[in-house]
């Protein structure tokens, strides 16, 4: 069994190394026809840029994409600079340099990866998946009978912020930076999933398709790990199955299939303000222009965010979204599970959390309000602040850096819910409902707590669960995502996630610390 595990790990690492090294192989040549048709389709008027590329880039063979990217982006920047100086605004190309470069480099790749997509898919995804499963599945036997299996977590360099953790951290952060800001460097990786994308939506894959596919794959593999680890705990099993379903069906397959039928790409379970560009004018326009279905999507998205979400939070707590439906939550609960104990439990962290997450919520609301104001009035700024700038900075700081690079990249050092805890505006919004108007709470079982600290240790949201449990107090916290792990790891059966009457949800449970009633009353009155 242990040998299978080791072999699996080896295969996985080989897959990962090949995956990573693909960035450094292949040849690139931008052909005349590719370039012309692209320029035409975009209607560029930047002669300087077009000339520069035609003269210096087209037809030339590059041995790596970095030089090609640098030639394209500098051509773009030079041209733009000149036009901006001359105030010829219509000739400026407003694209982000690396996304324009991505569009040109993607069709320009040549070489073994492009020619052997199937083979390389197997060598990367295939080996990775097989290796990971070989590493994970023997745990059915190796971990012993069903039950809580946290042995050695704080002794392993992978899960105690040891060097393996830091390595994973660097890898993840680099991957996200490439994905969000330098997609033109990873076109070879995108090629791996081209055939799958074509069979789903009919289009070639984009870096977002690669990300979506990778996301689902990782969630499934790590979901299997969850099923094994928590096979004694039905709440965990059902919850994990639910996030997998919503991710694969709603976030990945349905949008791709919609595109195949020429309908807007739409994730029915995504909600504003997490889906921060839902009310952006291009989105509203594209939905309105897509006929009845588009209008339905617009209405659904709005009702979902503003009415359905808080109502369901009232009945079940925000867990129904955060740990049963949401994709970010889904990744956190699968890929992120090995890191849940690394969240900071200190009072200070809680303070930072409250400031940060509510600021993001306010930011999202202001930005959306401005967006709608602009949409309806046509005025593009308010109090000297441009709507576009707000949108840009939100997208860059919150949408990319916070939710992606930090939110996921920091799993191995700050725990698996960095984004959900400190950044997600939807979580903040649902948290307010959960804290003040909801039937959900974690009930503390009278006086049974022995203050051991397992619950706090494994709370991914950094809630000091023990602080409540040892006082016989129920846990009603805005940030609790109802993952149920505190209840699972408690060795004394002290915690239960419940939806009950609102009345008496927060009060301390007087009889039950074990002393006689009178004394408990006195203690409470003081």
């Amino acid at each position: 069994m242990k040998i299978i595990k080791k072999l699996g790990l080896t295969l996985f690492i080989i897959g990962l190394v090949i995956f990573t090294s693909l960035i450094f192989i292949g040849k690139y040549e931008l052909t005349e026809s590719t370039f012309d048709s692209y320029v035409k389709s975009r209607g560029f008027k930047s002669e300087l840029f077009i000339d520069d590329i035609q003269k210096n880039v087209v037809g030339k063979t590059y041995s790596n994409q970095f030089e090609l990217s640098s030639d394209i982006t500098s051509a773009l920047e030079n041209a733009n600079e000149t036009y901006k100086k001359e105030q010829q605004w219509d000739k400026v190309i407003w694209d982000k340099p690396h996304s324009l470069s991505y569009s040109l480099i993607k069709p320009s790749a040549k070489g073994i990866v492009v020619d052997n997509q199937g083979l390389f898919f197997f060598l990367t995804f295939g080996l990775g998946i097989i290796g990971a499963l070989m590493f994970i599945i023997p745990d059915v036997v190796l971990l012993g009978p069903p039950g809580i299996k946290n042995n050695g977590i704080y002794q392993s360099k992978a899960t105690n912020r040891g060097w393996i953790g830091y390595l994973a951290f660097i890898y993840l952060v680099s991957f996200y930076i490439l994905l969000y800001f330098y997609a033109d460097y990873i076109v070879n990786l995108v090629y791996l999933v081209d055939p799958i994308s074509k069979s789903l939506s009919g289009n070639a894959a984009s870096q977002w398709f690669l990300y979506g596919f990778l996301y689902c794959t990782v969630m499934v593999v790590m979901g299997i790990r969850m099923f094994i680890k928590y096979r004694h705990n039905k709440y965990q099993v059902i919850r994990t199955a639910s996030v997998l379903f919503f991710q694969i069906a709603f976030a990945f397959l349905i949008p791709e299939i919609l595109v195949r039928f020429n309908m807007p790409y739409f994730d029915f379970k995504n909600a504003w303000p997490l889906d921060y560009d839902f009310f952006f004018d291009w989105n509203i326009k594209s939905l309105i222009n897509s006929g009845t279905l588009g209008i339905f999507m617009l209405v659904w998205g709005t009702i979902f965010s503003i009415i359905i979400i808080p109502i369901v939070v009232y009945f079940y707590g925000k867990r129904w979204y955060c740990s049963w439906v949401c994709g970010c939550g889904g990744l956190a609960e699968t890929l992120g599970d090995p890191y849940r104990q690394l969240s900071d439990k200190s009072m200070k962290a809680w303070k930072i959390e409250r400031y940060l997450i509510h600021s993001v919520l306010v930011f999202a609301i202001i930005m959306t309000a401005m967006t709608l104001y602009t949409y309806f009035t046509g005025v593009d700024s308010l109090f000297g602040i441009k709507t576009y700038d707000l949108q840009f900075y939100y997208g860059f700081l919150i949408g990319s850096i916070f939710s992606g690079v930090i939110g996921t990249g920091f799993y191995p050092v700050m725990g698996n819910r960095v984004w959900c805890r400190f950044g997600c505006p939807l979580a903040a919004y649902m948290g307010i409902v959960q804290r003040f108007k909801s039937r959900f709470r974690i009930t503390t079982n009278g006086g049974q707590c022995i203050s051991c600290g397992n619950c706090s240790t494994y709370c991914e949201q950094g809630i000091d669960v023990r602080a409540y449990a040892q006082k016989g107090q129920n846990i009603v916290r805005a940030s609790c995502v109802g993952c149920g792990v505190c209840s699972a790891v408690c060795p004394r059966g002290v915690l239960k996630l419940e939806n009950g009457p609102e009345e008496g949800r927060i009060q301390e449970n007087p009889t039950l610390l074990g002393n006689d009633i009178d004394l408990m009353k006195m203690l409470k009155d003081k």
Partner: protein, 443 residues
Amino acid sequence: MKHVVIIGNGISGVTTARHVRKMSDQKITIISDETDYFFSRTALMYVYMGHMPFKNTQPYENWFWEKNRINLIKNRVEKIDTDSKKLLLKNGEEITYDKLVLATGSKPNKFGWKGQDLDGVSGMYSKQDLDAIEKYTKNIKRAVIVGGGLIGIELAEMLISREIPVTFLVRETSFWNNVLPKQDSQLITNHVKSHHVDLKLDTELREIIPDENGRVKAVLTSKGETIDCQFVGLTAGVSPNIDFVRDSKIECNRGILINRHLETNIPDVYAIGDCAEQENAIGRRRPIEQVWYTGRMMGETLAQTLCGNRRQYNPGHWFNSAKFFDIEYQTYGWVTARIQEDEQDYYWESSCGQKAIHLVFDKNDKSFVGINTFGIRLRHEMFDRWLNEKKSIEHVLEYLKDANFDPEFYKQHEEEIINGFNQKFNANIQPKKKSWKRIFTTF
């Protein structure tokens, strides 16, 4: 300003300090020689098993003590002079108190076995013990644990988690059968064996044999068997840690003797928690109760007295809990190893052999006396209420669903349990659906 001095920074001492601070402005000092800060003794096993770093066993952050003006001294108290109200510390310092709280906890029992102080032998009580175990169990081939109580089984789980083969010497004929009824004890015995513990029942330790370097090499059992091992864990119970108190005028038996107000024979000196012994046992409770909850409850009560509100210690209904490898155990009310004459019992076990319930009730008036539950979590609050209201066994079973505390979606067994009861006692109890209203009324 009065000076309250507390010896011992365990749950008893710290609970006292916290509540005194809540209610008054007295000067508070806690002295302990074990650790800088209060930690949860019950969590020591999780540190060894790698579930938690030691830091996480501390329920309060380090700034808590200063903020609440609770003075911490890390030192050992060597002498108590109750006439001049002075303590002598190991470092020579003297401390004067107005009120003294003894909360010194326990120490592992050692019954004068030959070799009990060898290198490679340790109890499992203190942080120092944990460090010693960590050191002694590196790369060893076998460990022997002596004494089959709750701490022994925790130690077994710890060692197994590091894949160290364990031989477990247990004096009883079935695990913990001096506390658990036969069936319950059998259930746990089977479970322990399923975790590959080499359980030797009805076996005691004779002596521990050293190698040439004075380290443990083997043990000799009462059955004449020699077992090679490199570590021996002594977990044959604990007793009050009060050697230094015995030289003072404070009256002791096995523990420090106290009355129902937690007062010792000397005015202004109190004792609570593991180290205290009730002059007269309270109800069916034992005079010395070495459990977490007792320490906490006594601390809460004593704080009232220390703040001028003299209180009698009045524990509510007995409850306790433990975990045996993967099986959680809770108990409410009284289920004794041997069911009493005037009592009847009903035992139900699930087909998987991992879940069981043992109910005890009065033979005559059928009132509910107590329950043991294994693998099924039950609501403390409901049982406390039923015990207060002296509900009948029929009532308890009828409303058993209200008391279920398992996580959502777990398989529920109430119907099975009740059917079994109906059959055995020719009754006709129908379970009622769970009701939030019932669970939350009475307050």
